[in-house]
């Protein structure tokens, strides 16, 4: 879970366009969410450990690479969103790409983010949801 603030605003759009497209998410002062993040990895079960990967290592990687970057931060101020709007679509792709790069102990299948109880987003990189 990460708690972060953001404001949806695109420099490529005019002020009125931003207000129409993003509505209350365009509030200049920003707003925030508790993002619940699910990371799915896959692999063969190790004969010696009985595990597909060491959960402590996955937890450590997530904490260092994702929590440290984004928890209790303003997403708009992060370099990862310097060239893109911090929608949850883009947050999902950013987190997927970071974990793909940093966690090599298992195959990263999917990132799922619940932005609110009613809205969630899934990203599997180049793959598609089955």
């Amino acid at each position: 879970m990460i708690a972060a603030s953001h404001r949806l605003h695109s420099d490529r759009l005019s002020e009125p366009e931003n207000r129409v497209i993003y509505g209350k998410c365009n509030n200049p002062y920003g707003h925030g969410h508790n993002y619940a993040i699910e990371v799915t990895v896959s692999g063969q079960v190790s004969l010696s450990t009985g595990m597909v990967c060491n959960l402590v290592e996955l937890d450590d990687c997530f904490r260092q690479e994702i929590m440290e970057r984004f928890d209790h931060k303003n997403l708009n101020t992060r370099e990862e969103f310097a060239d893109r709007v911090p929608t949850t679509e883009n947050l999902a792709t950013v987190i997927f790409d970071i974990l793909k790069r940093e966690f090599g102990a298992a195959h990263l299948e999917k990132i799922r983010i619940e932005e609110t109880q009613n809205n969630s987003f899934e990203y599997c990189g180049d793959a598609q949801l089955s």
Binding site: I21, Y22, T87, N90, N118, N119, L129
Partner: protein
């Protein structure tokens, strides 16, 4: 490709009864769901759409438009309704959760211009749901 899921709820009454069956057959096949006085559920609908992220807006779909379509096509049509008596698809079709999922898919597929449908999931109860991916 990114997938967005929007959730909403509706509460509705229904019964299962096939007029081609005898009363005994209806009772045997549908059990307590065959009670013609009806019963009801709180249904939870999850609609998943897919597409590429728009590089200007960062959105895969305008959530407000999706929300409006779900409200118009599903919530307005089915919430606090009797499915057998008030929803046209079920005039001659049994409103099982399977058929509800297909009816919702067809309604959304016909009206949802802002994104491509991936899946319709309908929970009849927290421990029972149906997934429909359209004709494949």
């Amino acid at each position: 490709m990114i997938y967005l899921t929007r959730k909403c709820e509706f509460s509705a009454a229904h019964y299962y009864y096939n007029p081609a069956f005898s009363a005994e057959e209806n009772q045997r096949v549908f059990g307590k769901c065959a009670n013609l006085d009806g019963h009801g559920h709180n249904y939870t609908l999850e609609v998943t759409v897919k597409g590429e992220i728009d590089s200007t807006t960062g959105f895969v779909v305008d959530l407000k438009q999706l929300k409006d379509v779900l409200n118009d096509e599903v919530v307005e049509a089915m919430d606090h309704r009797h499915l057998n008596k008030e929803v046209s698809e079920f005039a001659k079709q049994i409103p099982t959760t399977e058929n509800i999922a297909i009816a919702i898919w067809n309604r959304l597929d016909a009206t949802l211009k802002v994104a491509k449908l991936h899946r319709v999931r309908v929970y009849e109860m927290p421990d029972l749901f149906v997934d429909y991916y359209g004709e494949q």
